[in-house]
């Protein structure tokens, strides 16, 4: 997951009250169903940056001596902007799969349908597992978890449809080339 997503995700946890660092980890896990485990170092680094940017501020210690932070007015305003803003394409991580298929399409000796089929089998396996997890989720208790699973399920669906489209396009192109070769082999091969 991208750093900015962690930053905003952690800031959102302060909306319902002050928190200390380790508490952020357990709450983030609870709200996202443990889909993106964060390490403690990442949490404290992010917390320092949020403090530096004026989005949270230290507000004393709890009974165990842990520093407790709370969201500031500037933090609330920034968070409101984040919720209201769409995620743009440029913000998303580059897809290794897209790069792999772009390379497969332009590298001699690579059979695109074979690449597609291997990926589709794996994507379908993941799909099955996500659907299974979603089926077992409790619609009352696991709202955020189900939302995240839906995100992954619909994302995989788009990927599988895209793979189908690439396979069909590649095979159609192959047939066109074969037909052209059958009609005028000397022109195609020259």
């Amino acid at each position: 997951m991208q750093k900015s997503a962690v930053r905003w995700g952690l800031l959102a946890l302060f909306v319902d009250g002050p928190k200390y660092g380790y508490q952020l980890r357990t709450e983030f896990d609870a709200r996202t169903g443990g889909a993106w485990a964060l390490n403690v170092g990442q949490i404290y680094t992010t917390l320092e940056r949020l403090d530096r940017d004026g989005f949270v501020s230290a507000n004393g210690s709890n009974s165990e001596g842990r520093t407790v932070y709370e969201i500031t007015g500037a933090g609330r305003a920034a968070l409101t902007d984040w919720f209201a803003s769409p995620v743009r394409d440029a913000d998303r991580p580059r897809s290794e799969l897209a790069i792999k298929l772009a390379m497969a399409a332009t590298t001699a000796g690579v059979d695109i349908p074979t690449v597609v089929q291997a990926q589709r089998t794996e994507s379908m396996r993941q799909m099955r597992d996500y659907v299974d997890l979603r089926r077992r989720a409790d619609p009352d208790r696991d709202v955020a978890w189900m939302l995240l699973l839906d995100h992954m399920i619909f994302g995989l669906e788009a990927e599988i449809r895209w793979l189908d489209h690439i396979e069909a396009t590649s095979l159609r192109r192959r047939r066109v080339v074969q037909q052209a070769e059958a009609v005028a082999p000397e022109r195609v091969t020259s």
Partner: protein
């Protein structure tokens, strides 16, 4: 687990004049008791032919098709009709409901033809309609139902009784996303209770309800997922 449906080297060629189309080409697979198989592939890849042959509605040119160990080729018309009525539930793309019968009568019909008393068949029909969320529509005739409602009635008819093999051709085609989940849950629970289910679908997320998915292209199996692993492990490995 034993095979409920088995295809061994099945080929089906449709001929029209000098042209011929190889709808299925040396297809072999099996679906075991308690298993749900999804079949995907582009239009014309052979999915519906596969289902029609599995349900005894069409015949393979070569190869063997067995349902619960019985080769369909060796069955006479009466025995085949009984097998289809008692053991195989079929959801057609175009529903195939009888217009002169109410929804509940349509669903109850296979049970009544099997010799079950009318009252008992009716109770089973209402229960099957309940399972897909349309019990209140039992007294309506097909023409009084929306496309999605007709589809659910057709699914209830396929689920009624002790069907060992359920064949569903795009059963969610006319349904919205949430209603589709009701139907998939009904199919999945039949598989979990020991039936074998074959689901033909264009929707990857619906294929995800199956234990494995088989992709067809030009009548051949091009790739297939392996049976499921423990899903608890997946987030740790991602």
């Amino acid at each position: 687990m034993t095979a409920v449906l088995r295809f061994d080297n099945v080929t089906r060629v449709y001929r029209s004049g000098d042209d011929s189309v190889r709808a299925l080409d040396a297809v072999s697979f099996e679906v075991r008791t308690g298993e749900m198989l999804a079949v995907m592939g582009p239009s014309g890849s052979g999915k519906s032919t596969l289902l029609a042959i599995a349900g005894g509605l069409d015949t393979a040119d070569t190869g063997t098709v067995e349902v619960e160990g019985t080769a369909l080729r060796g069955l006479g018309p009466t025995a085949l009709a009984c097998l289809r009525r008692d053991r195989i539930g079929y959801v057609f793309q175009d529903f195939n409901l009888i217009g002169d019968l109410t929804a509940a009568e349509n669903v109850a019909l296979p049970r009544e033809l099997a010799g079950v008393g009318a009252r008992s068949a009716r109770r089973a029909a209402i229960s099957a309609l309940e399972e897909v969320g349309v019990a209140a529509l039992g007294r309506r005739f097909p023409e009084q139902l929306s496309g999605g409602q007709r589809q659910r009635v057709a699914i209830a008819r396929a689920l009624i009784g002790e069907r060992r093999l359920i064949l569903a051709d795009e059963p969610t085609g006319a349904l919205d996303s949430l209603t589709s989940e009701v139907v998939l849950e009904a199919l999945r629970s039949r598989a979990d209770a020991g039936a074998a289910v074959v689901l033909v679908t264009h929707e990857p997320r619906y294929a995800g309800w199956a234990d494995r998915t088989m992709f067809l292209r030009d009548g051949r199996i091009v790739d297939a997922t392996t049976p499921r692993e423990r899903p608890e492990q997946i987030l740790e490995t991602r």
